[in-house]
Assembly symmetry: C2
Homo-oligomer: 359 residues x 2
């Protein structure tokens, strides 16, 4: 089944099937990026740029506002679930149906069928979203060509079941270490037990009451949790080191620096060394009060929800562009062998976006 | 350097050197056991038995008391420290000098030179002491031929620097497990954190005051310590299991069952599952009030000390035979590349034992 040129005349549901049947596991996106670029270059109302396997296309109509529609073209590895299969209930099965070739199909259809939108549009198709953060194509574009991403508002077509998910939580993971002194456990008074020294760390975690923060009408629930603990030398040795790994998921009213300061404060006086930051990704504000966002919400309908996981909306947020997640896939089916998408939701999202951009 | 017959006419210091130059790493004791058996069979006042690579010899003089002199003939692996070397200060260097071929040399010398002791004597030479407990030759003899070990008192010639170390602590290691429920750490309220649930376990360990117990004038200091802790699934997952490994070193007034009952009691109400016993070796009473022990103490002199580590005296204790450690080696040098022994201490121990058994 050799991939062929993308047919943007078919509806977004059929186009999703064609995209799913065009495998593009992370690291292997070149052929699909080529096909996307070729299809977009055929559209005279768009200017097309490429950076690596990332393709960016834009209208230049001089509108008062510019919005971004963004999606990643890679998928997790296939799991005997390609080619796609449409069942009798109108559900399309296969790798990437939900995450997020259905979203990419909607992007491509808007690009092909809305030549004169009421807002200038920037379409971003990027690679390597499903792998390590430093490989992420959107990150590479943001670094090399931030001007390509300049906009008033961005919609990331990640799976959200056709609901608007605003902003995203930040995540910080730190290692907290307690120390001690080794000794034979038969003569424990000659040593100092680093695992016992971790008791106050666990006490504070157990007693911690996470915040609930309302921003733009969305409630973000935080969490401060041990996600790992490790200590011990041998069955007869008093351990001299214990490490607790703590993950703080925080609301988008905090910066990365503020989040770290909070963690330091929580464990102040616990006898732990300065926290070592193992992972930090900032939160993103929902930006729902921006005029473009309000018009978007009105057009797509429904009640916006907070996004609890971390997504690439945070990269737009870091560039000063408010962003939301809005896509036809189901996030709970992402990365699963039985990944699937309801084709009616694909068509619904396509229609809602078109309505917003042509009203 | 092919091993030759053991020469029991030389003093215990020279005999130690011959034994060290006769490698017998655990599992490879047959040749040395053969040599020991041959040397003992040449002594007409002894009856000799053998079980595997364990050799037991005894006098049968109809004395009112019988005492055991016991030692293991294996060593840890060589570390470029054989053959032995006697330096100008009278210190003998090499693998097993302290642990415990110097003790074995003293046993052999007493066997050869005290044909009519004031107490009947049983000499026990056994294998596989330095490896897993289930391989231990003394344990095998105790199981197959407990009558070979019957006695009023036993001296184990493990390294104790020529001081009497009475009895030994017991050791119990258990795993304590807390449970929880996995969830994505961005939605931690959907799960239950098993590491946080371990906080009361560490609190009780940190607050625990170990007992000091005086038995036969010896003070045993106990210890209750976490020797390991482990929990965690991934950096973004609320963990559903955490395991704390706890080692209880207890005084010989407690049985193994009482020690476990105490650990259960300490962690009662902590929310942990029933402790899993990973290792349990009973304590040994010093038995210093026994007449044979008192005469021994008087003969060897010095102040008896409690033994904090676990040793094979516990196996005698389990057979109802009070036992002490008394040997010329230095326990702090055992298992080290620069293992050595002061030859004067070997001769001193030999002379003190002879004095006790011939007075």
């Amino acid at each position: 089944m050799s991939p062929t040129a993308l047919d943007l005349h078919q509806d977004a549901a059929r186009l999703t099937a064609q995209l799913v049947d065009f495998p593009s596991v992370s690291g292997d996106e070149k052929a699909l990026a080529d096909a996307v670029e070729e299809a977009l270059r055929a559209l005279p109302h768009l200017t097309v740029d490429r950076y690596g396997n990332n393709v960016v296309a834009r209208t230049s109509l001089g509108r008062a506002e510019r919005v971004v529609l963004a999606g990643h073209i890679d998928t997790v590895p296939l799991a005997d679930n390609v080619p796609s299969r449409l069942d009798e209930d109108g559900v399309l099965w296969g790798c990437g149906t939900s995450d997020m070739k259905s979203g990419v199909a909607v992007q491509l259809r808007i690009a092909a069928t809305v030549p004169a939108p009421n807002r200038d549009l920037t379409f971003v198709f990027y690679d390597n979203e499903e792998v390590a953060a430093h490989l992420n194509g959107l990150g590479h574009v943001a670094e090399a060509h931030p001007e390509w991403l300049a906009a008033d508002f961005a919609v990331l077509l990640e799976p959200s079941e056709g609901e608007v998910e605003g902003g995203c939580q930040g995540t910080l993971r730190v290692a907290l270490r307690t120390g001690g002194e080794r000794a034979h456990s038969a003569r424990s008074w000659l040593g100092a037990n680093a695992i016992h020294a971790a008791a106050p760390v666990l006490d504070r975690l157990a007693a911690y009451t996470p915040r609930r923060v309302v921003i733009d009408g969305l409630e973000y629930r935080e969490g401060l949790n041990a996600v790992g603990i490790e200590g011990g030398v041998a069955g007869n040795v008093i351990p001299d080191e214990c490490t607790v790994k703590v993950n703080y998921r925080y609301a988008p009213d905090l910066s990365e620096e503020q989040a770290l300061a909070h963690v330091r404060e929580v464990f102040d006086g616990c006898g732990v060394a300065e926290p070592t930051v193992e992972d930090s990704s900032g939160a993103a504000l929902p930006g729902l009060s921006h005029p473009a966002a309000r018009a978007f919400l009105q057009a797509v309908g429904g009640e916006p929800r907070p996004k609890y996981g971390w997504t690439d909306v945070s990269r737009f947020s870091a560039l000063g562009v408010p962003a939301v997640n809005y896509g036809p896939g189901d996030p709970n089916l992402a990365h699963k062998r039985d990944e699937r998408v309801d084709t009616r939701l694909i068509l619904h999202c396509e229609e809602r976006l078109r309505s917003w951009l042509t009203a």
